[in-house]
Amino acid sequence: MHTFEFIRPADPAAAIATAAQAKTAQQGADVRFVAGGTTLIDLMKLNVETPARLIDINRLPLDKVEATPSGGLKIGATVRNSDLAHHPTVQRDYAVLSQALLAGASVQLRNMATTAGNLLQRTRCMYFRDTAMPCNKREPGTGCPAITGSNRTLAVLGTSEHCIATNPSDMCVAMAALEATIHVQGAKGSRAISFGDFYLLPGSTPNRETVLEPGDLVTHVTLPPPRSGSKQVYLKLRDRASYEFALASAAVVITIAGGNVTHARIALGGVGTKPWRSPEAEAALLGKPANAANFRKAAEAAMRDAKPQSENKFKIELAKRCLGHALKMATTS
């Protein structure tokens, strides 16, 4: 691990002022915020991340879960994943989020990992994590050995010729389906970013993963008020029953009236280069009878643009069945 200066700021403003001096907030940032550390410390040990300054935000007042005036939920940046998963309001009104959180990692990691840290969780692509290998995400312009190499667990949606790394988060898949908003405080003030606008596709700059700029501190996430009568399911498929990243996962928030789908929000995990909201699947379901044939059509729509690599073609069918089964679970529960 490279040396760094450890900073414990007095307040968010001090944290932001220090972070604003960074050259980038993306891969290779010279200033990093640290909360749970479960991604960052891991990558620092691998020399994938080498910040010169580390700002400990654990003692800033960002750890509350509160109702919003509009009836939604405000989730602080440093709320631990385990606390969020077991929060009574989340369990009652945002069950898909609780399920997704509990499907991720282990209890120990969930006790450490935070809301904002999970939003910024990094890919598990083995080439990204190994500094002996080329990687366009880690070192732009060096190439992507995954495309011709080991890519069984990598993405089939949102890929480019420069990067096929999977976004590994479960929490983010649920938040995408719940239409969360990410709130950022930066050097130029505060702003709210819709979940769909927060992540960038790899394109020709896979080192840029989000719209965050130097100094930007994620302070909290808000969820809109729960939709009454909606059914929610998070289904995760993986190589072992627990403590493993998704090969495919699906978050479903769906409302049925008179046998027809009146509202649907669908997101997929384990298959995309970012948490993958599927407006195609949602459109395919809207107004249609909630039955297996229409669930399959929605799944086909969700994966229509999927591009398989040498080892991960199975993920396309797996994701379809995952979404189909999640829809069945949600509408028969």
């Binding site: 760094f4 550390g37 479960t38 282990s106 209890v107 029953a241 403590y243």
Partner: protein, 212 residues
């Protein structure tokens, strides 16, 4: 009288033997992180803190680490993980280093009563927090019920993962967990046992849950 876990040369253990007779390589490792004098304060310069007991550590910073109810005034390299600090600086070696990347659970300790992977946390992040290691759970003549259950149910083979398993199992007692074995297995999935003692580990935990 109970054996002192840090027993001296008159009663050498494998670890004290290595510490006192170690090769130059072992000596280097030990010197990489040394406890500061008890009266070290934040205002002291690095050179002042470098006592006759050990070398100056460039960039070392002061920290109070509270482990098993006892405060330790230390000066450590900011890179020191909680795991390395416990093992190398505080000399509590019951907590084990397995993968060092949060994948195996051997390093599990409690921070403010909750289980965490000490390998993925910097010691500096836990200044003043309440840390409990396997040494703080029980002692050879006064085992924690979970320790006793692991012995009774043979919940280990080589024993390397055992302290992490027990720290997780004790934390599990206070966590939301269904009554069946499947629920226990799910909540214990962050602790890997390469010997495969899982059935006995689950049995030990279920026995303690039944009795509490």
């Amino acid at each position: 009288m109970r054996d002192d876990p840090h027993s001296g040369p008159s009663n050498p253990t494998r670890r004290t033997f290595l510490l006192t007779t170690g090769s130059s390589a072992a000596g280097t490792i030990i010197a990489a992180c040394v406890p500061a004098q008890a009266n070290t304060t934040a205002g002291q310069s690095d050179s002042a803190a470098a006592s006759a007991d050990g070398p100056n550590i460039e960039g070392a910073v002061p920290i109070t680490l509270r482990v098993n109810g006892k405060d330790h005034q230390l000066r450590i390299d900011p890179r020191t993980t909680l795991l390395d600090c416990l093992r190398e600086t505080v000399a509590l070696t019951g907590t084990k280093k397995g993968c060092d990347h949060g994948q195996c659970g051997a390093c599990t300790v409690h921070v403010n009563g909750r289980r965490v992977n000490s390998c993925l946390s910097l010691a500096l992040m836990h200044d003043g927090e309440e840390i409990t290691t396997i040494e703080g759970l029980g002692a050879p003549d006064a085992l924690h019920p979970m320790q006793a259950a692991f012995v009774a149910f043979d919940g280990y083979q080589c024993g390397y993962c055992t302290s992490g398993q027990i720290m997780s199992a004790v934390a599990l007692l206070k966590e939301p967990c269904g009554p069946d074995d499947a629920a226990v297995k799910e909540l214990m999935s962050g602790n890997i046992c390469r010997c495969g003692a899982y059935p006995n580990i689950v049995a030990a935990i279920q026995q303690v849950r039944k009795n509490t």
